[in-house]
Amino acid sequence: MIEKLNNLDRRWIFLLMFLAVAVPIYVIGKTGKTFPETPSALAKATFDAIDDLPDGSRILLAFDFDPASEGELGPMATAFVRQCAEKKHKMYFLALWPVGPQLIQANIEKVILPDFPSYEYGRDYVNLGFKSGNEGVIKVIVTDLAQLYPADIKGTPVEKIPMMDGIRNIQAMDLIVNVSAGYPGTKEWVQYAVTPYPDKIRIVAGCTGVQAPLLYPYIPQQLPGLLGAIKGAAEYEKLVNDRYGGPHPDPKYLEGLRRMGPQLVAHILMILLIIAGNTLFFLQRRRGTSR
């Protein structure tokens, strides 16, 4: 029996995982209830980094991710855009990942167009689009933005964009907000933008769970705020909703909190699997030694 369980067909585990994620999504989708969140210090630091700036500051939003990691990063990106918009910050979007511009556009359509109709493209926000070259792009735009971004994504020359007036490089930004799924991402922004210009460039980031542990060494000197994975997104969403959402925030701003449901159940499943695996292991070993 133990032998059989030990060599359990992994497809049973796959099935369990499927249910652990699918059932909560269905239940939460039907009822709209979410689990409570207590924001961590890092999420608060990230929130404050944006909130403590005077209204109308310049924020560079670098969306360095792709649809594959939208599950984790989409809610963060949405919440970042919303907080910046609520604070009336000027938003400069760009991407180091080729598919980034689509995600930028999606967030503009999701947050700015419906909820901030008075915001004008080119005055309150601008989408500079994607440039290839990975960290090379960062190295160039810390000193010369126009060299790589002579025009925005629509092809409008930067001279004709009012909010680009007087911006020679990204040192003119009050804060960089980076949403990152890997390389190039937060690490490269820290390496090539923050490290060489520690007094001029500040950054906060939201990243996938896999990256978060690697970025901890940069906290807090080089990276004052960090949101790790969907948990970070949910905590940050809560902070933004508490400040700006009112009693009944729009469901589109609760995506991260909703996604914590399947997360919880799946984590419990993972824990049970580890316990089960070890129980089997010890039972087997005891039998092995008594023989």
């Binding site: 990691s69 599950g71 989409g74 390496q191 490290t195 996938t208 542990p213 994975a229 399947p262």
Partner: protein, 343 residues
Amino acid sequence: MKRETTVWLVVMLVGLAMLVAKGVVSGVGREYVQTEQKRFVQVEVPPPIGADADEKPTTQWLPAADAAARSLTPVPGSTELGWTAESPVTPRAYWEGMKADPSRTDLRLSVPRTIGLWVAAFFTLAIFSFLYRDNPFYKIAEACVVGVSAAYWMVVGFWDVIMPNMMAKLSPDSVRWAIPDVTGEPEWAYTVPLVLSIMLLWRLSPKGAWIARWPLAFIIGTTAGLRLVAFLHTDFLAQIRNSILPLAVVDQTAGFQFWPSFNNIVLVGAVLACLVYFFFSFEHKGFVGGVARGGIWVLMITFGAGFGYTVMGRIALLAIRLEFLMDNWLWLIDPTNIHTKIT
């Protein structure tokens, strides 16, 4: 027919029947769009009020309505240009729009997008089917993803790299058909990548394939040069700097701080132990072996933490795919209230 095949056939048929039933009863995934006529005119835009007297008007294309609102006159001889643009709308917006004014023609069901939605759902299920075992659906999905993605990156490389970063630099005039706003003088330095590219593609010729080693050597040399200093600067120096911490933290007002001191001692000790593990000159024996063992333990804790953190992300990825299936495709749930039938 094998028993397993029969079982799967039955499962699929039942699934299909349920899908049809769901479609009949409360609807399944559809995509709607709103069409819009875009018109542009070429106008002379005068300099802004207050500008210097010698500033000249500029010629620009503006949306026709915008130009009319600013009472600008079209450039003589220019014609109005335009096309029909589509933007997606939620089913709810479509229903509400049609309910308010059933004669509207700008709102409609988008056949290509709806087909796309179903194709996407098929591909999603096909990839999931690999978890059970390799099968023809997965093989189709695999063949598609390889073909589409390889070509996708070629197209991106052409339009986003070759055109703006090489052709536009070498000869701005030659790319104006695709990048009309390109400016600047030809930069002859960019003949270097052009020549290197040609050498690289020389490999395709039957003779002198070794020519292709030159660009390869250039790439590897520049990479090695760039990485060597960059990593020493950012990862090496900066990480030593971050590890210089007081082992006894004394606050001038509050006195000795136990926990910060403890954390600093653990951190510095752990970094040193790990470094000993990576030391190549000594065998892991005796004292060195003991410290190296401690180093491995720290690494294992690091890996455990990394694993735990990463799991979160992976589950979110699965969640978003299942949300796609349940929300966008099957319309089983509607957390953002976009496709629940209005009454």
